[in-house]
């Protein structure tokens, strides 16, 4: 069958076919045609700050070692011995100039070059041949600390791929001292469902008051004025100033910042109670002087979701990564971030901000995301009903004036609209129908 006709049959304007979430053959194609064909988020530079630092990651299902090599260059090496295929690195992070396979002792430099094999006289080949060097992702680029890789030789430069999403990413970073953050461990969650269920949800303003009702109740249980957390989704969220925006290339944005007054301290006032709040808030107010309100706002969750297709969602203060495991299994990693205040913009309050910020970042994974993950699993179970073929994402479609094209080419719609989902599915269909020129690189 013609592939583009096939995928047109699965993704309609208003709905998608259940099989895109359930079919193992489609999932396998995604690993090349999506995860091989576009820039995929791999790691944050603060996870590999020094030469020879490494962490393991995945590009789709491909096991990788993301490292800053001995020369300081970022690389994404295939974690696969060129001899028999075993993973050569079994630690999740560390600092190493060479990697030795535990099976037969083949050893590689962290540039990917083969250093040597035991008893080479038993081989007739020339081990200087590039085919014995580790495969690696041919293009690895960083955008302000966010490391991406792609196998697609024809992909545009990373900055162009990010396109309009760069603006909110810049704004998210620039609220921090020095315009940067550092990753500080993660809340790691697994769900038995397709990876796209998480990406579909990443900009979904329709589910909030239903899926997260218990969280909204909890955050406001002691509040005389119950407007903490995501309370702005109650009532008529489509009439609130927040909005969804589609940027192209599958990227989208939920901007909730217009919901509250634009002044220092306003973001912090949205936070519910957190462990350590009384002491650290008081000390920040007492010691940080004119930077105090900015410091407190940095302990509060930023009210944006910036979703970079296919596997990154910058939301609150988290860097969330979606990692497919199987057609019906996905890992989501909610990397927490901390403030790094090298120029002392916060008057010495950075450690206090981080002590508070670690606790604020535990709230949503504990009391919100668990409910999302169970709903994703329930979708996967529901989709076992094979005769009931369609999944709808048509909220806002066909209503005059609701979805608005912007001069920059982006699309804006009210907060609960599913336009972003329809658009990333259209992009998914385009990518699944195309034939990307993908390849690995090896050291010469």
């Amino acid at each position: 069958m013609n592939t583009s006709t096939f995928f047109e049959g699965l993704v309609h304007e208003d709905r998608v076919h259940r099989s895109i979430y359930t079919d193992a053959a489609i999932f396998e194609r995604e690993m090349t045609h999506i995860f091989g064909a576009v820039w995929v988020y791999l790691a944050h530079e603060s996870q590999v700050p020094k030469p020879d630092d490494f962490i393991t990651a995945r590009l789709g299902l491909r096991p990788l070692i993301v490292t800053r090599d001995m020369n300081g260059r970022l690389r994404a090496l295939y974690n696969r011995c060129t001899h028999r295929g075993a993973r050569i690195c079994r630690q999740e992070r560390g600092n190493a100039r060479t990697f030795q396979c535990a099976y037969h002792g083949w050893t590689y430099f962290n540039t990917g070059k083969l250093r040597g094999v035991p008893w080479p006289e038993g081989y007739a080949c020339d081990f200087k041949d590039a085919q014995f060097n580790l495969a690696q992702v041919p293009r690895v680029e960083s955008y302000r600390g966010f490391i991406f890789g792609t196998l697609n030789l024809d992909a545009p430069p990373l900055a162009d791929y990010l396109g309009l999403a760069r603006k909110p990413i810049d704004e998210w970073l620039d609220r921090h001292p020095g315009g940067k953050v550092e990753v500080r461990e993660a809340n790691r969650l697994k769900f038995k469902g397709n990876w796209k269920l998480a990406y579909d949800n990443a900009c979904d303003g329709y589910h909030v008051v239903f899926s997260h009702r218990s969280l909204l109740q909890m955050e406001n249980r002691n509040e005389p004025d119950p407007n903490k957390g995501m309370s702005f989704y109650r009532g008529k969220p489509d009439e609130a100033p927040m909005y969804m925006q589609y940027f192209g290339n599958g990227h989208h944005f939920k901007d909730k910042r217009p919901n509250y007054e634009k002044r220092p301290g306003a973001l912090w006032e949205l936070e519910a109670a957190h462990p350590g709040q009384e002491f650290f808030e008081k000390r920040i107010r007492e010691t940080a002087g004119p930077a105090a309100l900015r410091a407190l706002d940095l302990a509060a969750a930023e009210t944006v979701n910036i979703n970079v297709f296919p596997n990154l969602s910058i939301l609150g203060n988290h860097i969330q990564v979606f990692t497919p495991v199987a057609v019906d299994e996905t890992d989501t990693t909610w990397y927490a971030t901390a403030v790094v205040d090298e120029a002392n913009e916060l008057n010495g309050a950075a450690d206090d901000v981080n002590a508070l910020r670690m606790r604020t970042q535990e709230a949503f994974p504990n009391f919100g995301e668990v409910d999302d993950a169970v709903n994703f699993e329930e979708i996967q179970k529901g989709l076992a009903a094979c005769e009931d073929e369609w999944v709808y994402m048509h909220r806002g479609l066909g209503i005059e004036g609701r979805v608005q094209k912007q001069p920059d080419g982006s699309i804006k719609a009210p907060a609960t609209d599913e336009a972003f989902m329809r658009e990333h599915m259209r992009e998914w269909r385009r990518l699944m129908s195309a034939e990307p020129r993908i390849a690995v690189a090896r050291q010469p």
């Binding site: 999740e92 500080r184 461990e185 993660a186 809340n187 790691r188 969650l189 697994k190 769900f191 038995k192 899926s211 009702r213 218990s214 969280l215 109740q217 909890m218 955050e219 249980r221 109670a273 957190h274 462990p275 350590g276 709040q277 009384e278 002491f279 650290f280 890992d331 989501t332 990693t333 927490a336 901390a338 450690d351 981080n354 002590a355 670690m358 606790r359 970042q361 535990e362 504990n366 009391f367 668990v370 409910d371 993950a373 169970v374 709903n375 699993e377």
Partner: protein, 182 residues
């Protein structure tokens, strides 16, 4: 209710839970008292009696599940780090009728073993135990395992739980629906 957590609290917590004594409390009655308290706690959780379970905890307490072995809560996020107020939030949320990750609720049985009771500072005791929680939910059975470090303190003639550190053996891996109280 105010959070009691401040830098001194964190310092003391990290110090206490990173270096365990070697020699147990010699008094068998004290050890038996601790065993009974831990078994009672496990039973209340298995029975879903969360308010009764909370009543075992001190007014200033911490329920802590590190995200890395020995992770420092000041510098990194934890799977959970609840002071008393947030622990009450956690129990409140489960009772709203809208916490979908626990609707229907998990059925659990907990097995505790290897209970060791060490002296702490003042009237406190430090207790270690190993646990297996067998959880059935939504058609599947799942095992959680690890060890707990607890600090108990004598108050008005009874021991209260001041700190419960739950050390999952897979704390730094992807956890499926960690919405139950461990």
């Amino acid at each position: 209710m105010e959070s009691p957590i401040d830098p001194a609290f964190y310092d003391e917590l990290v110090r206490t839970f990173s270096a365990w004594p070697e020699r147990e409390v010699p008094d068998p009655a004290t050890r038996e008292h601790c065993r009974m308290l831990l078994h009672r706690e496990a039973r209340l959780l298995d029975q879903g009696r969360f308010d009764d379970w909370l009543a075992l905890y001190a007014a200033h307490c911490v329920y802590w599940i590190p995200a890395t072995p020995g992770g420092d809560p000041r510098r990194e996020v934890a799977v959970a780090f609840d002071d008393r107020r947030r622990l009450e939030d956690r129990v409140y949320r489960l009772g709203t009728g809208n916490a979908w990750s626990q609707l229907p609720a998990s059925r659990t049985v907990r097995l505790l073993s290897n209970i060791e009771v060490f002296p702490g500072t003042g009237t406190s005791l430090l207790v270690r135990s190993n646990f297996l929680v067998s959880e059935w939910r939504a058609g599947e059975t799942h095992l959680w395992s690890g060890w707990c470090g607890q600090r108990l303190r004598l108050r008005e003639g009874r021991y209260e739980i001041e700190v419960r550190q739950v050390n999952l053996i897979d704390c730094d891996q992807h956890l499926r629906n960690p919405s139950l109280i461990l």
